[in-house]
Symmetry: C2
Subunit: 381 residues, 2 copies
Amino acid sequence: MWFPVQTVCLRSRTVCKRGSVGAFLRCLRHLDANVSPFSHSAGRCSQTCQALVYRKHGDPSQVVQLEDVPLPSTGAKDVLVKLLAAPVNPSDINMIQGTYAILPDLPAVGGNEGVAQVIEVGSQVKSLRRGDWVIPRDAGLGTWRTMAVLAEDDVISLPNDIPLLAAATLGVNPCTALRMLSDFEDLKSGDSVIQNAANSGVGQAVIQIAAARGINTINVIRDRSDFTQLSERLEAMGATHVIKEETLRQPEMKELFKTCSKPKLALNGVGGKSATELLRHLQVGGSMVTYGGMSKQPVTVPVSALIFKNVKVLGFWVTQWKRDHSHDGRAFRAMVDELCSLIQRGKLTAPACTEVHLRDYRSALEAAMLPFASSKQVLIM
Amino acid sequence: MWFPVQTVCLRSRTVCKRGSVGAFLRCLRHLDANVSPFSHSAGRCSQTCQALVYRKHGDPSQVVQLEDVPLPSTGAKDVLVKLLAAPVNPSDINMIQGTYAILPDLPAVGGNEGVAQVIEVGSQVKSLRRGDWVIPRDAGLGTWRTMAVLAEDDVISLPNDIPLLAAATLGVNPCTALRMLSDFEDLKSGDSVIQNAANSGVGQAVIQIAAARGINTINVIRDRSDFTQLSERLEAMGATHVIKEETLRQPEMKELFKTCSKPKLALNGVGGKSATELLRHLQVGGSMVTYGGMSKQPVTVPVSALIFKNVKVLGFWVTQWKRDHSHDGRAFRAMVDELCSLIQRGKLTAPACTEVHLRDYRSALEAAMLPFASSKQVLIM
């Protein structure tokens, strides 16, 4: 329940924008009619796989079911892939609840992210080989399943010498973090970024990518019983400062800014008061980029901050970025290569993850919905 | 009381940025010591003029006094000017109240805008001649006075064949309107802009400049007894639509957008709910620019609008724009020329004004502070 869908009407515009999503919907309609090829291609179904299907919106642990679904044969421009691991992200939960900005028609397979291994390639496929690791190029692929037949263009390859969990969680949070650190302010070594939700998947990626670039991070987390432990973990990742949300309103912020420049960029995954407090510490002319709204509260901006401090209040959605760049794969390729290089050099790790076998999906869904989750649930196929 | 100054700490940074302001402060300190040259130059005081001085912050009609102040002789790089007309703007009131983002040291002369005629030029002055009309380049000049000795660089000339009231009110509101229509979105003929406070000085200039460029304006005003009359007046200026604030939440907006494209740009002089309602009607990817906060409420932005509609929430302050461009007069010159050309072609008029003689300043200050003021008070010297 991050984003009430009724406040924005992008549903019809975005849901079928890429072939993969439309394909996916056709498949599931066929599935319901019990005749279907589970693919965008019109190939004959030769086998089945298992998938986490939901036929109505609601509580994920109630409406999601593990089902056998038909799998078509591999067309000339397709690849047959075996899913290896796929995380449960907040947006996956919101999609199932029916509250996200884009919703596939039902029935649908859950999951928008994950890593798969190519096990068969069509005769006209040029960019992929057997054994390659791939991740989706767009949301809506339905990654919570054991196998899939996909168009070559629906995936992008990764080196398969990076850790499985890093690959499975690369396509959403680290991409969001990298783009927000790259596209809004010209950040140089020694500059600072402030962020709330610093323990989220995005937050941890921000800490690591910023540290690799010599950028200071001021990381805000809600107070909790294991604050010290968590703080030490984030500092070990490269966090310059880790502070509690209430500290933002306290005089010790002055002390902090004696050793660290005022941030040019604020990253907001929370909304509400937390976002307003981030704004208060921004440099004149700086930007606050909102990528999430965990508090379910809007962003409130003092008029004086806009006029006299010239702050810019902006938003970022990695799904839209991918769609805006789908005509030209180079930007996506460059981003994936940069992230993989950071992973290979030990500068970027997956967030803390809990591996759960696909058959135990209910526990993964329930755990993913708990507040203060300090570990990302990842389904292992 | 537009902007509580305590929320932003630019005071020390901006108040003495330009020579004129520093000079002005020196003069008034000298004035208090009864020895002073009333100018930035060190010249001998040969005569006096009258000025509206305040020695403490508070209710303008209480703290402002008409006084004789000394006037120095004109230095080699100075001009002696006779002020002709100077408006009472909300920011002038807020400066006297002590609630604006920039505040001169006290005592100070009120007024930041106005038109003056050059009556004497120093021997090294190149760009100005006797008889020229000039307006201030920066805020803080203290325009509510009969005469002043000013540095050549502190003013910019205007053609003196435009109406006096248009010249007196050109430097703040029409500049704000022109920049907001030019610098945030690439608006083409047929595009739309939505604005609240459409009856303000900025609002009226927006209507006229947009109309001259073929841009539709959707103009929002608060309901009032003379709504029809005001609406007709704004339409006669070129307003495409004039609607009441409550209409923003009503189904008739759908009808309106059948004949007028969704706005790329929203201009907000109000804040609070009014700003949130403007956002609701913005195109995907559009910008809302805040230049005022008449409601004294912050701007509240749904997280979904930032992430999924990619709206940008920005601010504009014409004083800062002028300072940012003070190193290179060309941008300011081009803006003034464009506005004067619109005035000469009958496409831009002064807002509805009430002319008040300088000696009757108290009634002007009181009238300027009334809510729903539909006429700008202009002091005539």
